[in-house]
Symmetry: C2
Subunit: 308 residues, 2 copies
Amino acid sequence: MAEVTRVCVAGAGVIGSLFAAHLSRVAEVSALVRRDEHARALADSGLRVSGRAEFTGRLTAATSPGELPEPELVIVACKSLDLEGVAERLAGHWPDAIVMTVQNGIGADEVVGRYGDWRQLASVTFMSGTRHEDTHVEYVLDTATWIGPARGTTPADAHTVAELIVASGLKAEAFDDLRPAQWSKLIFNATVNTVAALTGLRHDPHFAALDRPSDLGHLVRALMDEGKAVAAAAGVTLGEDPWEMNVLATHRGSAHYPSMLEDVDAHRRTEIDMITGSLVREAHRVGVPVPLHETMERLIKAKEDSWG
Amino acid sequence: MAEVTRVCVAGAGVIGSLFAAHLSRVAEVSALVRRDEHARALADSGLRVSGRAEFTGRLTAATSPGELPEPELVIVACKSLDLEGVAERLAGHWPDAIVMTVQNGIGADEVVGRYGDWRQLASVTFMSGTRHEDTHVEYVLDTATWIGPARGTTPADAHTVAELIVASGLKAEAFDDLRPAQWSKLIFNATVNTVAALTGLRHDPHFAALDRPSDLGHLVRALMDEGKAVAAAAGVTLGEDPWEMNVLATHRGSAHYPSMLEDVDAHRRTEIDMITGSLVREAHRVGVPVPLHETMERLIKAKEDSWG
């Protein structure tokens, strides 16, 4: 992959908006969105970033790839629930582009890969923010996006994209093999998101409490232990230890509002299939029992059903 | 125990109100309540029953046992969270009375027994209703109360009380040994209440669904299997099979609103310590692992904490 001069960000939620606005400072950026008024608002007003950075990015935007300039890099930043829909709309376009997925869980690149022969990168992101309106996103947690090669790409391609993202003002790091990071985040997410969504607690010190037998930390640790057993059986050496990530994060002061709790509070369908679901599927594949993750999956799905 | 002519009902929530009003038709009934205005309202207006029966019971009421006539039978019908407080107020009164507990879980008679040397009966009730105001309770589910001997009583005492309750218009049955029934209900309650409270679902057909691996019935059955293993290790032969109770109840048409879900919806402390807590304590005593019930206990306690 040579220099990247044009990037398309597909999906402009929190993560997509953060990418699109920042990258517009170092590349020509377009946004592929679902709603016409969203596209018009972005094209007319640009995309404002507040919080850790303060600027307004300028970009083009449309609801169909045919209306956008051909990019060298596509960042698919939609929620995993919209992944099939976005991949379907990209099908047949931009065969020379590299398509990078950023969804939670594992397997997003495989889903997208079924819709075209693009070369691909995989990534996980730890940054977060709050979307205040179509044209305004607040940059809250300035943690990194980790990028690794997938179908048809090399570690050098991952480096090129990571450098572009760093130049834009966000944090990014390239890995020769993304799986250790991806699995650490999967185990962390499958635990913290479901526990938060069922208890109504933000990611606060309860998640690391181990004093009494009924304290929540025991459940968090047991869920993470199940996840680690699956990773080990799948031949993956974890990057960071999910329990240490948990202890660290809960002592950082302000408690993060996990996206699955946000979904539950808004009575929206959650990403349970992509997060816990992908861990449970992998556990069945390698023959490791995960009764606690199955419990969380069943409870969350039943909770979704309770909204009728 | 000879004939019962005076009954005191301690605690006039749904269950206490249903007992007090019905029994007032066959005995002299007093109610021991916490609030002065509750006592005054009951004494002034009586206690109206609607639903499966329509009448107004007449009774005396007070906030202290010293103001009430001495009864032969005390029915402690408060919630388990109030049990210690009610038992404390009864301490030193009415040494010749038989005291019958009706709380969920196991061990309520032992808690009360620490506050006095009364003879005791144990019971579990399956009836339910809705409390519309201090002086009006709706009788909804006309299922039975099961009564068995406890400290210092015989099966004959249980029969005497069951007959009195039946004469009053409610359903009751006496057992020589209550434990099989008590344990069936404990396992049923520890499962259905926590699952409902975490998912927001009433006790509906989701609880018996087994079609897909992620269906809720698998969790319900696994929780009940853990409970059955504890009962077996504790030397208790179950009365009814909790899973069959579950399947039957979820096919009855209108879905029951479990009290723990009601508590969670109102952001009130739940009976988790008395229900799941007593099962988990018993499991530890007999050395049977109950990771799923521990999970439910931790999630419910964390949910209570989320209300700050």
